[in-house]
């Protein structure tokens, strides 16, 4: 972090507390939402969306990504792309097969 002034750190502390409370609330919401009667796909997207919001809060504020340098952001973009490739393509292989095996 390049800004070392006391004032900005104290301002950050306020943010940390707020994020902490938000995370707690979102956790409760995650559990509550799991009792809804929805299809698996809907439940999956709901869970991933809420988890992504929580994750973004941790990444953005606790890990300081919101004010981080471009180099780091680009590394994470590359990682995200690789991660998405890893998740989706084996998935497609289940649906798009000749059915022989």
């Amino acid at each position: 972090m390049s800004n070392n002034s006391d004032h900005s750190i104290e301002h950050h502390i306020q943010t940390y507390i707020r994020v902490f409370i938000a995370l707690g609330v979102l956790t409760v919401i995650t559990v509550a939402v799991s009792y809804l009667e929805v299809s698996f796909i809907e439940a999956f997207f709901l869970a991933i969306t809420i988890a992504s919001i929580k994750g973004s809060l941790v990444l953005g504020f606790f890990m300081h990504l919101i004010s981080e340098r471009a180099a780091i952001i680009w590394i994470l973009v590359a990682t995200t792309v690789a991660f998405i490739i890893l998740m989706f393509i084996p998935l497609i292989s289940l649906t798009d097969s000749t059915g022989m095996y």
Partner: protein, 200 residues
């Protein structure tokens, strides 16, 4: 070696110090590691017979895991608070927050211990089903990461930290920041693991 630059101070054109860049790259590889297991989870779930994962997933203890989630989130905020305290030159507060982080982590491990032994007591092992296999592997790997992080956190809480604070406070702050990044990542993994394994 002291002749290596940018250990603590930032390199002007990249704006980074070495350990921060290093830890983010390490975390990128960790994303791919857990990603491999997540990918396996999704693949196995879709390839399994209808209801198989639901049946086995229902055997997990949601309240315990929710409590664990809160423990980790707390440890995350105390971790960043301990770094902030160090930046504000408040060494005692740093130790306090770091201590709470360590306690939260130990608490998480205790809960996990009870969870696992509870399963074994009921005769449920990784081999019991594909779901249980991926559940134990994902959470087990996560536990190993908590333990690894715990070792570093404890080291940074001991007298070594006191010495570093006296001799090179910026270096200690840098070490805490980097350890914090790793710790937040471990929390991040759990934030995704929790709903996927316990709630879906």
């Amino acid at each position: 070696m002291s002749s290596i630059p940018y250990i603590v101070e930032e390199r002007p054109d990249t704006g980074l110090n070495n350990s921060k860049l290093g830890v983010w790259i390490f975390l990128a590889s960790e994303v791919m590691l857990f990603g491999g297991l997540f990918s396996a989870y999704v693949f196995l779930r879709l390839a399994a017979p209808e209801g198989d994962f639901d049946y086995w997933g229902a055997k997990l203890n949601v309240p315990m895991a929710t409590f664990n989630t809160m423990l980790l989130i707390t440890s995350s905020v105390t971790m960043v608070m301990s770094w902030a305290s160090l930046k504000l030159k408040q060494f005692d507060k740093y130790k306090m927050y770091l201590g709470i982080t360590i306690l939260c982590a130990l608490g998480f491990l205790c809960v996990k211990y009870f969870e696992y032994t509870g399963k074994f007591h009921h005769g449920i092992y990784p081999s019991s089903s594909t779901f249980m296999g991926i559940y134990f592997t994902l959470t087990g790997l996560h536990v190993l990461h908590i333990i690894g992080g715990l070792v570093v956190l404890i080291y940074l809480w001991t007298r070594q930290a006191d010495k570093m604070w006296e001799e090179n406070p910026d270096l200690l702050a840098n070490r805490i920041e980097v350890t914090g990044l790793y710790w937040h990542f471990v929390d991040l993994v759990w934030i995704f693991l929790f709903p996927i394994l316990y709630l879906l």
